[in-house]
Structures are given as structure tokens and as C-alpha cells.
């Protein structure tokens, strides 16, 4: 570093352009550092989940065990496996195999030199710390996979999500098209009613709907999770209608002159022009269905073979509440699909959140 640039670094109050841009960089860097720290704290529970899911259950009940996934280090002496402890000898800590456990003194062997001399150490071996090595363990995942009947639950969740998303997107697109492109008596009033149903708490209609589904014999089937979505959802309709209205009417009219009917116009003009909005609605509904808890709990909690993942892991947690390693592994397995889908589609997804929130 030259003397000149060093003096520039020293005097931040200097008005020269280098120091100003350097100061700006420092400001940006410290703000970004602050954001990194805040984000790390915000997402720390995720690290806890991953760490715990990779631990062996024994590690959590052993005093002095490290926080990261680890296994006790062992060594072999004369064909037998012995644990390794951290032994203070002559002011230094040495990792030694505990061969003979004694009350007031014990015998150790250096694992690097298993044929060498026995080391006698005076003191209580129980006060020593075991030596640990980083060792992620995937057994929790395989255990939770089979105990949860994970492939079954995954299939159920995905199948319900796909079917109900299909129902919701098709019906909402039809309704949004009706509101966006046709004049009919009472349209504005109906649209206000549509918006009002967004803020109607679902409990207000819950009990009669439940009674009807039970009377139809649909309790314990997927139908209550899919059929209501055939009738369009106010939120989706609103989003799609906003988008459909931004497609120029001239395109419809050109198609109409070519002899296209309303369905044909929807299929070949409106839908191709509204792919971003359709993607967003599809994603919204897919996530909604994948994550839904109340409705599957109500209709499927007694049917292990038809359940979705959220219900499955909730019941699993109730059974294995004392085994956090299994629970965290199950939680990780449940979130992996939605999180990956989100990262792949985050751009159009986040844009749609903004459209629905701001243009209400």
C-alpha cells in the first residue's frame, strides 16, 4: 500500500472521490453484514432442525456432547473397541483409549500407538469428556420414512394438491373470464359479493358444510378436499380477472371476426396471454393445498392410508414427542418439496403476492 492511499484511508472526512466511494462501500458493507446477521438469526431454527435431524438420539442425552452431529470416537486395542477420552496429562490434553476403568485411577492406551505402553492416570474417569468427531447420521430419515409410511403420505399430499389445484385453476379462470369480458345485469354487485367472501371467516360456513359432507358419505374420503375447489375461489378469480382485463380487447374482437366463439377466445387468446397470472394462481393453490391442516384434519384424521403429510407428521409428533431427532427429520422431509418448488418459482410467485396485496 502506498503512503498516499494509506493517508486517504485514514482521513474519512477527506473530500476526495476515493474516500467518498470507499465510505459508501463501507456503509453498504456494514448494512449487508447487519442483514446477514439478522437473516441468520431468523433462519437459525432451520439449522437447528438440520443439525438435530442428523444426530443420533444417544448424543442428545449425553452430557458434554457437542452441538453439531457427532459420534463418540473409539479405538481398537487387542481386538476390542474402547471409547476415547480427553485426558489431561502433564498440562496437555491427550485423546486416549480408556481400557481399564478404575474407581480412583484408570488405565489408558494411546490410539496412535496401540501396541505401546499402558498409561496409568490418577483421577475419576467419569469426570473426563469423551472425544467426539463430526458424524452426520441419516438413520433418523430412514426410520421416519418407514414409520410415517412416507411414500404413501407423499403420494396422497401430491395427488390431492394436483387435483384440487386443477379444479381451482380451471374454475377460477372460467369465472374470471366471465367477470372480465362480459356485461350482464348485476355484475358489479356480484363482484363486490365475490370480494366480500375473501374476508368471510371459513368457520361461519364450516359446520353445515361438514354435516352435508358427512351425510353424503364423504367423510374419510378426498372429496371434501377437492370438490369445493370446483366452484372457483374468490382470491384466484380476483387475481386472474385483473390480469385478463389487461389483455387488449382488440385481440378478442379479431378472433371473433374470424368466427371464434367465447370458449375459443378464452382458449386461444386469453389463457395464452395470462400465463404469469395462471402460474401464480397454480402455485398459490398448490402451496395452500400442500400445507392445509384444518380440512384434512377434519375429514382424514382417522384414515392413515388417505392422509396428507401435515396430518401424518402431526400424529407422528404426538406419538414420538420424546424423540426430537425423528421429529426434526420428519419436519425436514415434509418441507423439502414446497421449499424446492418455491425456490424454482420464486420470481413469479412473489410478484403475484404483490399484485393481490396492492391492487385489492
Amino acid at each position: 500500500m502506498t503512503a498516499q492511499s494509506a493517508s486517504r484511508l485514514r482521513s474519512f472526512s477527506d473530500r476526495s472521490p476515493v474516500s467518498r466511494s470507499y465510505r459508501r462501500f463501507l456503509g453498504r458493507a456494514s448494512l449487508t453484514l447487519f442483514a446477514v446477521v439478522l437473516l441468520s438469526a431468523y433462519l437459525l431454527p432451520l439449522l437447528y432442525m438440520i443439525t438435530t435431524a442428523l444426530q443420533q438420539p444417544e448424543q442428545r442425552t449425553t452430557a458434554g456432547a457437542p452441538i453439531y452431529p457427532a459420534a463418540p470416537v473409539t479405538g481398537v486395542y487387542q481386538g476390542e473397541t474402547y471409547p476415547i477420552y480427553q485426558v489431561p496429562i502433564d498440562g496437555a490434553i491427550r485423546d486416549l483409549m480408556l481400557v481399564v476403568k478404575g474407581r480412583e485411577s484408570s488405565t489408558f492406551v494411546d490410539p496412535a500407538d496401540p501396541t505401546g505402553t499402558l498409561i496409568e492416570w490418577t483421577g475419576r474417569w467419569r469426570t473426563l469428556d469423551q472425544a467426539w468427531t463430526f458424524s452426520p447420521d441419516t438413520a433418523n430419515f430412514t426410520t421416519a420414512w418407514s414409520q410415517l409410511n412416507f411414500p404413501r403420505l407423499l403420494f396422497n399430499t401430491a395427488a390431492i394438491a394436483v387435483l384440487s389445484t386443477l379444479a381451482a385453476v380451471v374454475s377460477s379462470a372460467l369465472v374470471a373470464y366471465g367477470f372480465a369480458r362480459f356485461r350482464f345485469p348485476g355484475k358489479n354487485m356480484l363482484f363486490v359479493v365475490l370480494i366480500a367472501t375473501i374476508i368471510l371467516p371459513f368457520q361461519a360456513t364450516l359446520i353445515p358444510t361438514y354435516i352435508i359432507f358427512v351425510k353424503l358419505g364423504w367423510n374419510g374420503t378426498w372429496l371434501p378436499l377437492i370438490v369445493p375447489h370446483l366452484f372457483a375461489n374468490a382470491f384466484n378469480v380476483f387475481l386472474l380477472r385483473q390480469y385478463f382485463m389487461s389483455i387488449p380487447r382488440e385481440l378478442d374482437e379479431a378472433a371473433m371476426i374470424d368466427g371464434a366463439g367465447p370458449f375459443r377466445i378464452l382458449r386461444s387468446v386469453i389463457l395464452p396471454g395470462a400465463v404469469p397470472a395462471l402460474t401464480a394462481v397454480t402455485l398459490f393453490h398448490f402451496f395452500f393445498s400442500w400445507n392445509d391442516f384444518f380440512v384434512p384434519l377434519l375429514y382424514l384424521s382417522g384414515k392413515p392410508d388417505l392422509q396428507t403429510l401435515p396430518i401424518g407428521i402431526q400424529q407422528y409428533n404426538a406419538l414420538y414427542v420424546s424423540e426430537p431427532t425423528l421429529i426434526q427429520a420428519a419436519a425436514l422431509m415434509t418441507m423439502i418439496v414446497p421449499v424446492i418448488v418455491f425456490f424454482l418459482a420464486q420470481r413469479s410467485f412473489m410478484r403475484a403476492v404483490v399484485i393481490t396485496g396492492v391492487e385489492k
Binding site: L174, Q203, L206
Partner: protein, 326 residues
């Protein structure tokens, strides 16, 4: 000929193609046909409105005056206002309202402040890799609620959870978040922090819509960043903040999944997580008191509606609608 005339002509050609000239009925006129198509397209929603909204809404109102249950549906009797009278003295209903209120007092301010704070941070032009931060601060809301609640239950465990380990490390006593009647509300509010993503994005869009000329004018007048935030950002953002507040309030009164997962639906500790929605679930679907459940649902509905109206009434005082003044 204008484009409008051409289309009308095109439409009428479509409508008369089917036959010789005769007295047209309403659906044979261009506007009649258009209206008919419109109704055809919105019919899925119209049918759903009758079957799944209006019908059940009326039915649940009627049910709330009965003692209906699914085991003996034939023995249903009108009980007048009994269900509502019972609610007024039902310790669980009273408790659940208090629980919801306590949670709302901690959770709503935290959610509003955190979502605005995150939005301001990820909106700052000084931040490197803004988009990465936006995506990552938003991401937790995509985690299934059951899974994220299980993660937080472990994270907040007083013995093996990391939060209390960190607190003890810096010399603070780590509270028993989950099993304490007092600490459970801050704990649930912390869990709720993973649900601020949508509010954050909406706030972000709001921040971006503030005209930069206003900031420039204020800077010339010598205003600091704090003053500009209070006097410009907040007033311009106020309709968006009101929208977020209303949605946040509605979701708080529908709080269910986290409370259910936390205690397997028991409402522990000592009914401190017996949220009104959980009480409704238990009365209606576990104890089979569907009539009484309908009454609780209507209570919930009326409270949410009332609070929303109160918020909108107060909004006149603090919400700034730019459009109405120009």
C-alpha cells in the same frame, strides 16, 4: 366506420347466423347473448356461492339456535337463545377469548413491525444482493405450518433448544417457553415471525410506490431519515398498513394449526393455548355439539366483522388516501 360499430356488427352476425329473421328473444340480441355467456362463465362461482357460502351461512345461523348433533340428528330441537346464553357463562369460551386477545396483543404489533422492518431493509438500495435477501426473508412462509411449528417447538425447548442455550450463554435465564402460561404467547409470536413474508412483500411494494420527489423535497428542507420515514413513508403507506392490519387481525382470530400441533389439540398449559377456533373445533367435532359449535362460529364471525369495521372507522383518522385529495 369505427371499430366499435364493426364489433357490434360482428356480434350481431354471430347472433343471427342460426336462422331466418323472426322475433328475437332477449338471449338472441347481442347484449342478451353476451349476458347469457357471462352468466354461463361465472356459473361455477354462482353455484358455489349458493352451495358453499350462502346456504351454509344461513344454515349455521339456524343451527346455532338448535341442539343439533350427528348421532341423533332426528332429535334436533330449537332451543332459542340457549346456546348464546351458555356461551356467556362457558369458562372455555371466555378463556378462549382472553387467550386470543393476549396473543393478539403480543403478536400483531410484532408482525406489523417485523414485516415493515424487513421490507425497509430489503428495499434499501445500499444493500448488496437485495433479491437474495428478499427471497430468503420471504421463504419461511412456504414451509408447511405443521413442520415449521415442530421445528420451533424443538428450537424453543428449555433444555435442548438453541434459543435458551444462547440465552444462558449470555447469562440470561432461559424461560420455559412452551410450558409456561406466560411465555407461551411470546413463543407463539416468535413462531409467527416465520409468517410475515406476505406482509413484507406487500410493504415492499408500498415502499417502492412512494414518489421519490417527496424525499428529495424533504431533503432540501433539511429533513433527516427518521423524519422522512415518519412524515412521508408512513402516511403514504398507511392504506397498505391498514390492509395488512385487517388481514393480520382476521388470521389471528382463525389461529388454529400452531396451537393444535403444540399440544395435540389439548390447549395446554392450563388452557393457555385454547384459542377460540380450537374451542370451536373441540365442541363441534370432538364433543359433537354441532349446534353449540355453530353459535361459537357466529360469535367469531361477528367479532371479526366488528373489529374490521372498527379498524376502518379509525382508519379515517390516520389513513391517507392520496387519490381523494387530488
Amino acid at each position: 366506420m369505427t371499430r366499435q360499430d364493426m364489433t357490434t356488427q360482428a356480434r350481431s352476425q354471430l347472433s343471427v347466423r342460426s336462422g331466418p329473421v323472426r322475433r328475437r328473444r332477449w338471449f338472441q340480441t347481442p347484449s342478451g347473448r353476451e349476458a347469457a355467456w357471462g352468466v354461463v362463465f361465472i356459473s361455477p362461482w354462482l353455484i358455489g356461492l349458493v352451495l358453499f357460502v350462502a346456504g351454509p351461512l344461513i344454515a349455521s345461523f339456524v343451527l346455532s339456535f338448535t341442539d343439533f348433533n350427528l348421532v341423533h340428528p332426528e332429535a334436533v330441537q330449537f332451543v332459542g337463545l340457549d346456546n348464546y346464553a351458555r356461551m356467556a357463562s362457558d369458562p372455555n369460551v371466555i378463556k378462549s377469548l382472553l387467550v386470543t386477545l393476549r396473543f393478539a396483543i403480543v403478536s400483531i404489533p410484532l408482525t406489523m413491525v417485523a414485516s415493515l422492518g424487513f421490507a425497509v431493509l430489503v428495499n434499501s438500495p445500499k444493500l448488496f444482493a437485495r433479491n437474495v435477501f428478499r427471497v430468503l426473508f420471504y421463504m419461511p412462509i412456504q414451509i408447511p405450518l405443521v413442520a415449521s411449528t415442530l421445528v420451533w417447538i424443538g428450537f424453543l425447548n428449555t433444555k435442548t433448544g438453541w434459543l435458551d442455550m444462547i440465552l444462558r450463554f449470555v447469562g440470561l435465564p432461559g424461560p420455559d417457553w412452551i410450558n409456561s402460561e406466560t411465555w407461551i404467547y411470546p413463543a407463539l409470536a416468535l413462531i409467527g415471525l416465520w409468517g410475515v413474508g406476505n406482509f413484507m412483500l406487500i410493504n415492499l411494494a408500498g415502499l417502492q410506490s412512494v414518489p421519490t420527489e417527496l424525499y428529495e423535497a424533504a431533503r432540501i428542507d433539511g429533513a433527516g431519515p427518521g423524519t422522512m420515514f415518519r412524515r412521508i413513508t408512513i402516511p403514504i403507506m398507511s392504506p397498505i398498513l391498514l390492509y395488512n392490519l385487517v388481514i393480520c387481525l382476521i388470521t389471528t382470530f382463525q389461529y388454529f394449526t400452531q396451537a393444535y400441533v403444540l399440544t395435540n389439540g389439548r390447549g395446554d398449559p392450563n388452557n393457555a393455548t385454547l384459542f377460540i377456533n380450537l374451542d370451536l373445533f373441540r365442541e363441534a367435532f370432538q364433543f359433537n355439539h354441532l349446534g353449540y359449535g355453530a353459535a361459537i362460529a357466529w360469535l367469531l364471525f361477528v367479532i371479526v366483522l366488528g373489529l374490521t369495521l372498527v379498524l376502518f372507522a379509525f382508519a379515517r383518522k390516520w389513513v391517507y388516501y392520496g387519490g381523494s385529495e387530488t
